[in-house]
Each structure stands twice: as structure tokens, then as C-alpha cells.
């Protein structure tokens, strides 16, 4: 499938933005200035971006605790995200959500989620809204190999099929649920699980934007056409630990280095588009430079932004109480 030039440029920019955003957080977190927990999406950029390149603002996604990449891929504003992670009043959630709860409903982003397996049931509901309101939109649940074993996820695969919902379940399989290997924790096969629920199963290399874009496009088209849900199994590697500060003693030495050297989605993308003459290397360089500036100013702005005020503590628990 031919991908429009604008889509390629936008997707590269989103992947580069995620990479720089996360690498910068890795550095900043080590200084102790960022409160709470941070889970980085480095290495997985092509998945979120390849999927979301098939979506519009009307479509809904639900994310995971490793949600920064999905937020950026769905168009959530970077400066607001950075401010949120720094716990500032100018953050997208006014400093009351933090890294694990970034959401922007105006962008169809139903939230990162601190609960493993929290998103798939919500996505059944978003898909039900789209189906009932007949707006042609779809809903996509990102979930990890760890969440793939949660009862809430398995129930959602069933419910989405029973209700024939326009839902896509994107399983981002980075091989680890926290520190425990998917090879240990996931019984049977994900393909057999999808087939068991009677839904199409697609699989792709999550470090190849084009493979993700193609497979996600098929899954999303299937759901959008009213044929019910589909599962997309994306295989990828996590470049950092479960959370920042995780020493990753459970991983073989060299595992991450090999992923960085041989399976960097940005390098793969650049090689592919320049060799095929789809984009010019200087265009990509320009994006790299613009993103560097954007992240730099987001960090500077976040550090200088006002903190929440005492009155914010009590605000927005309810619409009315």
C-alpha cells in the first residue's frame, strides 16, 4: 500500500518525538526532579505510531502504564505532557494525573492506565459508543503481554465479539510483564486465543513502521467496516526497564544493545524511505532538529511552569457534588 508523503513525514516526526521525549525523561528522571514512576516506550515507537497513523481524532484509544508513546502518536500535545510528568499546573491533567494517567479526550485518548488490563474493557465501551452513535469511528486498546493474561482482557475479547464491536486489540508484546518473561507467563499462543474468540489475528514486527501500518490498517478496516473486533500482535523490544530505576537483572547482557543496534525503528524507517526515494534524508534531518528543539523547550517550560495550587486539591472530583 502506498502511504501518503504527509503521513510518512508526520509518522517519522511522531516516532522521533517519542524517542527524544523518552530518552530525555531517562536523563531527567535520574536527576531526581521528576516525581513518581515513569515507564518508557523507547524501542516501541513504530507500534503506537504505525497503528495511530490509521486513526483520526474521532477514533478512541486506551493505553497502558507505558503510555507516553501512544499519547504522542494520537496527537496529545508534547509540552502539556512534559508539564504533566513534572507535576505542573500547566500539564494536560493539571498535574493531577502524572505519567500514568495522561489523557486527552478531545484527541480520542482515553488515558494511559495504571492498572494492567484496565484499558480493554473501556475500549469495549468506547467501541459501543461509536457503534450506537453510528459515527463510523473505531476504538483501539493497546495492552501488553502481561495484560494479555488478565481476566479483564480476556473478557473484553469475548464481549467485543459477542457485541460485534468496532474494536481492535493491539497486543504490544515486548517479552516482559514487569520482570517476568512472556515465555513463562503466557500459556498457549496469542493466535490461538484470537481464534478461540473467533476474531481475525494479525501479527507484525513492531520495529518496522511499514509492517505495523499495514497490519493495523487491515485490522482497523475490518473493525470499521462493522465486521467486529480484530487482534493485532505486535512483537517488539523494550529498551529500558519496566520502570526507570529498574536494574533489569532478569535480562541477558547484550539483549538491549542488540535491539538498539539491529532493530531501531527509526533507523529502519530512514533506510527504507531514503532507499526507496520516498523521502529525502535532509527532510528527516530537519525533523530531527525541530524535535530536538521542541523537547528542549518542553523541558525548560515544564521546569519553570507553576505548581498546582492548594485549591486544586479539592477541584474536579465531581462535575457537581
Amino acid at each position: 500500500m502506498q502511504i501518503a508523503r504527509e503521513t510518512l513525514l508526520r509518522s517519522y516526526r511522531a516516532m522521533r518525538t517519542i524517542r527524544d521525549f523518552e530518552e530525555r525523561l531517562h536523563v531527567e528522571f535520574a536527576t531526581g526532579e521528576i516525581p513518581g514512576f515513569v515507564h518508557l516506550y523507547c524501542g516501541e515507537e513504530a507500534s503506537g505510531v504505525g497503528v495511530c497513523a490509521n486513526l483520526t481524532d474521532q477514533d478512541t484509544i486506551a493505553s497502558t502504564h507505558r503510555g507516553h508513546g501512544h499519547c504522542i502518536a494520537k496527537g496529545v500535545e508534547v509540552a502539556g505532557m512534559m508539564a504533566e510528568i513534572y507535576g505542573r499546573r500547566t500539564g494536560v491533567c493539571q498535574g493531577k494525573g502524572g505519567s500514568m494517567h495522561i489523557a486527552d479526550l478531545s484527541r480520542g485518548m482515553l488515558g494511559a492506565n495504571g492498572i494492567v488490563g484496565g484499558g480493554p474493557p473501556l475500549i469495549c465501551g468506547a467501541a459501543l459508543s461509536h457503534k450506537t452513535l453510528k459515527n463510523g469511528a473505531v476504538a483501539v486498546a493497546f495492552y501488553g503481554d502481561g495484560a494479555s493474561n488478565e481476566g479483564s482482557t480476556l473478557e473484553s475479547l469475548n464481549l467485543a465479539t459477542v457485541w460485534r464491536l468496532p474494536a481492535v486489540f493491539v497486543l504490544e508484546d515486548n517479552g516482559y510483564g514487569e520482570a517476568t518473561g512472556a515465555s513463562y507467563a503466557c500459556a498457549g499462543s496469542q493466535k490461538a486465543r484470537a481464534e478461540g474468540f473467533g476474531m481475525p489475528y494479525l501479527e507484525c514486527d513492531g520495529t518496522d513502521f511499514f509492517a505495523v501500518h499495514q497490519a493495523a490498517g487491515e485490522a482497523i478496516a475490518h473493525a470499521r467496516a462493522g465486521n467486529g473486533p480484530a487482534m493485532l500482535h505486535v512483537r517488539l523490544a523494550r529498551w529500558y526497564g519496566h520502570f526507570e530505576g529498574d536494574a533489569m537483572t532478569y535480562r541477558a547482557s547484550g539483549e538491549v544493545a542488540a535491539a538498539r543496534a539491529d532493530h531501531d525503528c527509526l533507523t529502519i524507517f530512514r533506510t527504507r524511505v531514503t532507499q526507496a526515494g520516498l523521502l529525502d534524508g535532509t527532510e528527516l534531518d530537519d525533523i530531527d532538529s525541530a524535535v530536538r528543539d521542541e523537547i528542549e523547550s518542553a523541558v525548560i517550560a515544564a521546569k519553570q511552569a507553576p505548581l498546582p495550587e492548594a485549591a486544586d486539591l479539592l477541584a474536579d472530583v465531581y462535575v457537581r457534588y
Binding site: 478512541t60 486506551a62 500539564g91 494536560v92 491533567c93 493539571q94 498535574g95 493531577k96 494525573g97 494517567h101 489523557a103 486527552d104 479526550l105 478531545s106 482515553l110 488515558g111 492506565n113 495504571g114 492498572i115 484496565g118 480493554p120 474493557p121 473501556l122 475500549i123 469495549c124 465501551g125 468506547a126 459501543l128 459508543s129 461509536h130 457503534k131 450506537t132 452513535l133 476504538a139 481476566g151 479483564s152 473478557e155 473484553s156 469475548n158 464481549l159 459477542v162 457485541w163 477541584a315 474536579d316 472530583v317 465531581y318 462535575v319 457537581r320 457534588y321
Partner: protein, 342 residues
Amino acid sequence: MSKKSFRQAINEALRQEMRRDPRVIVMGEDVAGGHGGTSGTVDAWGGVLGVTKGLLTEFGEDRVLDTPITEASYIGAAAGAAATGLRPVAELMFVDFVGCCLDQIMNQAAKFRYMFGGKARTPLVIRAMFGAGFNAAAQHSQALYPLFTHIPGLKVVVPSSPYEAKGLLIEAIRDDDPVIFLEHKVMYDDEEEVPDEAYTIPFGEANLTREGDDLTIVAFGRMVKLANEAADRLERQGISCTVIDPRTTSPLDTDTILDCVADTGRLVIVDESSPRCNMAADVSALVAEYAFDALKAPIRRVMPPHTPVPFASVLENLYLPSVEKIEAAVKAAMGHRVPEIA
């Protein structure tokens, strides 16, 4: 205006709100009559409560949805649908089943608005039946409203009669926050005059079912009925009671409770939920902190013991608050010497 049962009052509230607003949908186990059965009968059953009977026929399968017995996915779906444009009313059947889906209520629906910086609206209603008195035993009889009351972001409604149920349910459906609406299972056949037209009863405004000078009784849900019966008996013995039905445990009408205690100086709380950290404890703390000087006697609480709900009638009757126990507690608070009722 005509006599309607608690069940009919709820059905009418659902029907009228579904007619008014196409975004209102109903989902739950068997609520559309049970799909996939061999009888081929449409709307064969109105769910195990009989409350949703007839809704499928009028509103169709897009708005009245049978669910698999998978509480986490469909309660979560109701939350997700509420955040994206619908106004779902999900029936959890027995509130005890919240054990299968608490995450979706406690960590998702209740917290969206706050943790998303005030940008989410989650107009979700979860209906469930609760309470003992049906020999339904430990997993089908609990009065779990304190559990939900504890969670910021949720509103909790415990209607005490058919009239109350209709007005409060319509209010719940029109409310933009997640609402837990708990129906006492012993009350479904209770009848009283209920207006035919739609009406609302605001949350957080207690109802004084009677006013008296000697003592204030605060009671929740079905306990309001028992408290009124006890107050009738006490009236004949020269003790005049105010009975407060808070209607909602969250928000709680603390002003009315404090005002009445200030007037009467004595307080009995009747709460069917387990005694630790329940509404009786909550109201006691409120009064102890803000109306201590008005108290002429210690606060008395009429509550079950700290046990699961037992099955056998003889034990279940011992477990539950009763008119006699309320009467005894009031007399004790009045300084009468009364034998203890187990």
C-alpha cells in the same frame, strides 16, 4: 398518580429516561430477556429482578443489551461508553458481584475526572440489588454502600421506597458523575403512590419522614421503613422521634443530620451494613465532632454483627436490624432501662 411497586417505579424511570434521551442505554445479564435461548421468545424475562421487562420491545437491541456473565468487561464497557458519549445504566444484579469488577468502578470510572484534570465526564449509573432478608446467604446479601461511599468520585444512592426510587433514579441518569444505585431486594414488591410523570429528587438532600422532639433516628434504605415503624410504636409510648432518610450516602446531607441532633440531643443510627467503617460509624464521627455539645446521651447504633450474612432464617433474623432492636436502642438512648436484644 397510581400505586406502583418499587420494581415498576424503577422500570418507569428507565423507560421515561430512555424515551427522553437516545444516549441512555441499558446493559446487564439477562436484562434484554436472555438472548440465545431455545424458546425464541423476545424479551422473555426482565432480568433476574424483572425490572427491565418491556424495555427491549420498546427500545430495541441497540439500547437494551444482554451481556455475558463477565462483570469486569461490561462494567468497564459502561464506564468507557459513559466517557465517550453514551449514558449507560448497567445492572450488576447482586451488588456482591462487585468483587468481579471493582477495578473498573474504583480505579477507572470514579477517578477519570480528577486524574484527567477535570476534562472527563462519566455519566454512568450502576444499579444493583443489595441486602439481607431473602435467605440469599453470604455472597448475595451484603449491604455494600459504605464500600462505594468510601471512594471519591462516586455518588451512592440508597432509595427507601418506590417514590424515592423513581425520582432518585431519574436524577442518577441525568447526573454527569458515576452513580451507584442500590435497591434493597426485599423491597421490589413494596407499593406506594408514585407519580406517572418523570420527576427528580436531588442528591444530598435528606428527607425527614417524620419529625419529633426527643430523638433523631438516621436510617438508610430499607431501614427507613423499619425506623418509621419503630417510631410509630414509640410515639404511642410517649417518645417522639425524627426519622432522617439521607437518600444518598455520597453526597451526605450532613447539615440536616447535625440540625436534627442539635434539636433533639439524642441519636440512633440504623445501618444494615457490616459494622466496621460503615455509615453508622461515619455519622457517629460527624456528630461527635460537630454536635458533641448537643448530645444528651451516647449515640446508639443498630447494626448487624461483624459476620458474613448467614443463610438460615433464625440466624438471618438475628443478624438484621429489626423494629424491636430499634425500639430498644431508642429507649436506651432515652435513659430507659431495657433488656438487650441480641
